[in-house]
């Protein structure tokens, strides 16, 4: 299972302004790619373009699989119980007889079995995000997009999400993750794409990026200086 992502001249304009691109990207077919960059760099926009939620103004995106899923910064919880949020996606992929058992297994894995019947919206932020990630993974994606999934979570919840993401990546799911958290990027990234003002400043292996960033913008970002 692998999912290569390449773009050629990918660009997106809004209100007469170029927001992203033109971008020529070639992401590895496996592992975790982290998109980093200051606010307004176009990371989330790029993620939405790659996932097909937004139509690009120009350029092409080539992705070798249709089996994609995305987890948003603010998890979207259906107005249903915790279990029903999972069943909603499970029943689209599996025979009815298997759905309940699979749901129970997933809830046990994410430690929400005891809250299966409760409204999903009553969960804490961390629990909601765990559920959103589990729901995305329940679609058995070959390519998983994550838009700052731990942005407002405590360290324990963040680590729980990271562990799940790394496990999914180890099992073959290609992951593209947007984060501002440099520590998180160091922990999970295989390669890093650094964006600034809608353009790619550099794309390198994580070790190279953190040890010796090439661009001045990336150096300033990693040093905690303001990137303008």
């Amino acid at each position: 299972m692998s999912a290569g992502v390449t773009t050629h001249g990918l660009a997106f304009d809004a209100g007469g302004n170029r927001r992203v691109g033109p971008l020529d990207l070639d992401l590895p077919a496996t592992g975790i790619t982290v998109l980093m960059g200051p606010n307004g760099a176009g990371k989330s926009l790029l993620l939405r373009l790659l996932h097909g939620l937004i139509t690009p103004t120009a350029g092409q995106i080539k992705i070798s699989t249709d089996r994609q899923a995305m987890v948003f910064q603010k998890p979207v919880m259906l107005r249903r119980s915790v279990a029903e949020n999972l069943i909603f996606v499970l029943k689209r992929r599996h025979p009815r007889a298997e759905v309940e058992g699979r749901c129970r297994n997933i809830l046990r894995e994410i430690d929400l079995e005891a809250r299966a019947g409760q409204p999903a919206r009553a969960l804490s932020g961390g629990e909601q995000q765990r559920l959103a990630l589990a729901r995305a993974l329940a679609t058995e994606p070959e390519l998983l997009f994550l838009d700052e999934p731990t942005a407002s979570l405590d360290p324990a919840s963040t680590l729980a999400i990271e562990a799940t993401v790394m496990r999914a990546a180890a099992e073959g799911t290609k992951v593209v993750l947007v984060t501002h958290d440099t520590g998180q990027a160091r922990r999970v990234a295989g390669d890093v794409v650094f964006l600034h003002k809608g353009m790619v400043c550099e794309h390198s292996l994580a070790a190279d990026f953190f040890d010796s960033p090439v661009s001045e913008q990336a150096r300033a970002y990693l040093d905690g200086r303001i990137v303008l």
Binding site: M70, F72, L78, R79, P119, A120, A136, T139
Partner: protein
């Protein structure tokens, strides 16, 4: 207060007192005529609401989700239809159902079915327009998630209707409120025939024209209590947000 005005005031108070006493007496004794009128009112209005929901909820949801040329014009028309004058609807239904009308052969004029048709036409646009707004707001919240999951339009519509069910109960209640309180259309197509098409509102209109204000007020009070009871029942049926 002049003596003339005071006499009028005293009469009104007496009417209300009589009305309460009469209403209470009619309800306690389960007066056969009253039960028949109330039952027919509820039957006609609830069936009309049910049919209007069958039409209006999917249509509202589809309008909320779909994007097509002329959508804005369709929304304007649907919203405008919420204010359909009942007597005009009654007249149009009358013309269609009368012997010389296109549907005259069915013999539906002056039957409860004709009243249901008229009420359905009146409240279907209300159900459609209000549900469209509710579903559209919900869709804004869910849209990216649903597109990410690759849901078809039909799956999206069904999921939105299910998740918007609490607010949609209120929409159905708004429709019921309009239906049960409606008089103009049902009196034209129903004819207010005793033991056949007489409902509470038409009975109130009749008793008022006859000058029997206590009975009219008594029926009015029962109508109000019924509306309250149906709303209270709907509130208890609404499960907590899941």
């Amino acid at each position: 207060m002049t003596s003339h005005a005071k006499a009028g005031y005293d009469r009104a108070v007496q009417d209300f007192t009589d009305a309460f006493r009469l209403a209470f007496g009619l309800v306690i004794s389960l007066d056969a005529d009253l039960v028949e009128i109330v039952s027919l009112s509820l039957r006609v209005s609830l069936i009309a609401v049910f049919i209007a929901c069958l039409i209006g909820l999917p249509l509202g949801a589809r309008l909320a989700v779909a994007r097509f040329r002329g959508r804005g014009a369709v929304l304007v028309v649907v919203n405008a239809l919420m204010g359909l004058p009942p007597v005009v609807v009654g007249l149009l239904v009358y013309l269609h159902l009368s012997r010389s009308g296109p549907l005259g052969s069915f013999g539906l004029l002056y039957t409860p079915t004709a009243m249901i048709i008229a009420q359905t036409i009146l409240i279907a646009p209300i159900i459609t327009a209000l549900s469209r707004q509710i579903i559209e707001d919900l869709h804004e919240e869910y849209a990216e998630q649903f597109r990410s999951l690759g849901l078809t339009r039909s799956e999206t519509t069904r999921a939105l209707l299910r998740d918007g069910r609490r607010a949609l109960v209120t929409v159905a209640l708004a429709g019921f409120g309009r239906a049960i309180a409606e008089v103009g259309a049902v009196i034209i197509v129903g004819g207010n025939i005793d033991h056949l098409t007489r409902v509470m509102t038409t009975a109130i209109a009749l008793e008022t024209s006859k000058g029997d204000l206590p009975l009219a007020l008594a029926l009015g009070l029962i109508l109000l209590v019924l509306a309250l009871a149906v709303n209270a029942l709907a509130m208890t049926l609404r499960r907590p947000d899941a």
